[in-house]
Structures are given as structure tokens and as C-alpha cells.
């Protein structure tokens, strides 16, 4: 089996991209699409098959190779969906109580961390992320420089991240 530039066997390296591929697929199709996890599995299987069959010759990086497969698979899925009757019900996603509880708990943790921020940080998060104003609009609103807006956003995220690690 060939290896990537770090000496990791290619199939292992490919499986290490599950989180990146999952993010891209969920973002393109929406997390509520019940079969997004299947699509991720199919992409990984397809990539490993291509490596085994020698179709991937290492001309590009593994990341670029997987990006191409992922993008094509997303387009195929969207095309296939156009054949589905518009009003036919989708199979409901099968909820995993463990995962759901974990996600909910983490979200509550983040919410508490945001509540503990100083008002000047909450204000900037509110305008920038919740109201989706541009950096310049937020700067005008709060009477500070656009650079200061970025600094406050970055610092607020840093504090939230720190709180999650604690």
C-alpha cells in the first residue's frame, strides 16, 4: 500500500478525512438530510477503492483528491434528488440518544460561556454573528475600528474555547 507525504498508509490517511468530508457534505446537503452519513461512507469507500485500483497516482495531494470525489458525489446526490417526487416523505433520521445528549450538553456549555462574557464581547458577537452585519457595520454601530471588531470577535471565541477545555 502506498503512503502519503507523512508516510501514513493511504487508506489510513483517507479515513482521517472523515471529519472534513462530513463537514462538507452536511454543509452542502444539510444535517437534516437523513442519508448524509451514508454519503460520507460511500465517498470514503470510493476513495479507498480508487487507491487500491491504482486510479489515484499521487499527482495531487490526498486532500485535493478527496475534495474532488466529495464534490462530485454531492452533485450526483443533488441530481438524484431531482428524480424524487417532491412530496414523497424522506425516511426520518435515526436519532442516537448518546450523540444528541452530548451535542446538547456541549451547546449548553457554549451558551453558558457566552453568557459569562463581558457585554462588549457579547455585543460584538450579537451584531457580527447573530445579526450578520459586516465588520465595518459593526464598527460603525459600536463606534470602534473594524480592526477592533476582529480583535473582539477573535478574543471572544478564544475565551469560549478556553471555557470548553476547562
Amino acid at each position: 500500500m502506498d503512503t502519503d507525504k507523512n508516510g501514513i498508509p493511504l487508506d489510513e490517511a483517507i479515513l482521517g478525512y472523515r471529519d472534513v468530508i462530513s463537514f462538507r457534505v452536511r454543509r452542502a446537503l444539510g444535517s437534516s438530510t437523513p442519508d448524509w452519513e451514508d454519503i460520507v461512507d460511500e465517498i470514503l469507500m470510493q476513495a479507498i477503492e480508487k487507491v487500491k485500483s491504482g486510479a489515484f497516482r499521487g499527482d495531487s495531494s490526498v486532500g485535493t483528491f478527496l475534495y474532488t470525489i466529495t464534490s462530485r458525489r454531492i452533485i450526483d446526490h443533488i441530481r438524484m434528488k431531482t428524480k424524487v417526487l417532491r412530496h414523497a416523505p424522506e425516511p426520518a433520521p435515526f436519532p442516537d440518544p448518546h450523540d444528541e445528549a452530548e451535542t446538547r450538553e456541549r451547546a449548553q456549555h457554549i451558551a453558558r460561556a457566552v453568557e459569562r462574557l463581558k457585554p462588549k464581547f457579547r455585543d460584538v458577537l450579537y451584531l457580527y454573528y447573530y445579526k450578520e452585519l459586516s465588520r465595518e457595520e459593526v464598527a460603525r454601530e459600536l463606534n470602534i475600528s473594524p480592526r477592533r471588531v476582529s480583535e473582539r470577535v477573535n478574543y471572544a471565541i478564544k475565551l469560549i474555547k478556553k471555557s470548553l477545555r476547562a
Binding site: 472534513v20 437523513p34 438524484m80 442516537d96 457566552v114 450579537y126 454573528y129
Partner: protein
């Protein structure tokens, strides 16, 4: 610490503010840049919470009146305050109510839904029987209920990584020894069955059935 030049695009990507070509460029980039991907997922998680949990709609923020001083707004609904939205809602409801009484309800019935050959109906369910939930040992086979005659079932099984994909016309699938050998106690696995007609049309699918092989005590 060196900052990647793409980092500035993270927020705009997550807020859907990038141009299509910038978006494609950035998506390709985060497949090869772990640093950007890691920062993006962190921010995405926070943004999701800020949007869904409404943690920032606390009363003290009501003092912030969002406007773009002097400049015409690029936000198409910025004109509408909550009171104006309410007025719009009441007006629309009144128009709909009037239309309901005025428009005669004697039109012809809509045509029945007819499937063409290459359309796919989804929503019917395959009832998966076993394994499901917590089980004592690595399962020997997967079983589900029959959907109909002349049906081919496509079965997928995965844990943290895909384990197998197979097709069968039976309503059970014996797991190969090499697949069973890769399954470990304490790990979660899931499987799914899709039923296809002879012409390849998907006619039914099961949910994502999860199970866990309990660790030996």
C-alpha cells in the same frame, strides 16, 4: 504563530457571504489545511449555538438598534420592525381569509400522481429486526422483514469506518468472518437496508439501525 491567508474567509464562508468562486476555492483549501478546518469547525459550533440557542437576545442587547447610518441598507428587510412585520402578517391573513370565501371551491380535482420509469419513491420502510440496541456478542447476521417479491436488498454496515456493503435477495445477511473479526466490544455500529425493484428503483429503506456490542464484564 503563522496565520493562513485563508483564515479571513472562515467567518464569511460560515455566514454564506462568499462569492461562488471564493467559496469553491476555500472549500478546496480546507481539505488540505488542517489549521483552517480546525478553526472553522470551532467557529461553526459557536455560531450554531448563537443562532439556535438565542443566547444573545438577552434584554441588555435591546439597547442596540441596528442601522446603517445614512447609507441605504443592503439588508432587504431592514425596514421592517417587529410591529411592521405584525401588520404585514395581519394583512396577509385578512387577504387569505377573503380569498377563501370568495374563490369558488369547485375546481377540477388534481391529476393523480403517476410515477415514470426513472422516478424513485422513497418513504416506505424496511423493518429491521436484529441486531439493535445493546447486544452481548458480535452478531452473526443481520435480519429484516420482507418487503415484497423480486426485491434486491442492499445492506451497509459501518462503525467509525465503513465495514461492508453487500446485496442479497434474502431477508438476512450472514456477516463474513473477517467483518466480525473487525468488530469490537464497546464500539457502536450501525446498519441500513435499502430495497430495490428489479429495474433498480428504490422502493423502501430502513432507518439507521444502531447497536453496540457490550463489553464483557
Amino acid at each position: 504563530m503563522t496565520n493562513c491567508r485563508y483564515e479571513d474567509l472562515i467567518d464569511r464562508y460560515l455566514l454564506d457571504k462568499l462569492k461562488p468562486e471564493e467559496q469553491t476555492d476555500f472549500e478546496e483549501h480546507y481539505f488540505i489545511c488542517r489549521s483552517c478546518f480546525s478553526k472553522m469547525t470551532e467557529r461553526d459550533e459557536v455560531i450554531q449555538v448563537l443562532k439556535k440557542e438565542r443566547v444573545l437576545t438577552a434584554p441588555e442587547l435591546a439597547r442596540l438598534t441596528v442601522h446603517t447610518a445614512g447609507a441605504p441598507s443592503d439588508r432587504p428587510f431592514a425596514f421592517f420592525t417587529p410591529r411592521r412585520w405584525a401588520a404585514v402578517g395581519v394583512s396577509v391573513a385578512a387577504v387569505l381569509a377573503a380569498a377563501w370565501f370568495i374563490i369558488p371551491r369547485t375546481g377540477t380535482a388534481p391529476p393523480p400522481l403517476v410515477l415514470s420509469g426513472d422516478e424513485t419513491v422513497r418513504g416506505a420502510a424496511v423493518m429491521a429486526l436484529a441486531p439493535t440496541g445493546d447486544i452481548a456478542e458480535v452478531p452473526a447476521l443481520l435480519e429484516w422483514q420482507k418487503v415484497g417479491d423480486d426485491i434486491e436488498y442492499k445492506v451497509t454496515l459501518a462503525g467509525k469506518v465503513p465495514l461492508m456493503g453487500a446485496s442479497t435477495r434474502e431477508t438476512r445477511l450472514v456477516l463474513p468472518d473477517d467483518v466480525r473479526a473487525r468488530m469490537k466490544a464497546g464500539e457502536k455500529y450501525f446498519w441500513q437496508v435499502q430495497a430495490f425493484k428489479a429495474d433498480g428503483t428504490l422502493v423502501a429503506t430502513s432507518g439507521r439501525i444502531r447497536f453496540r456490542v457490550l463489553p464483557r464484564s
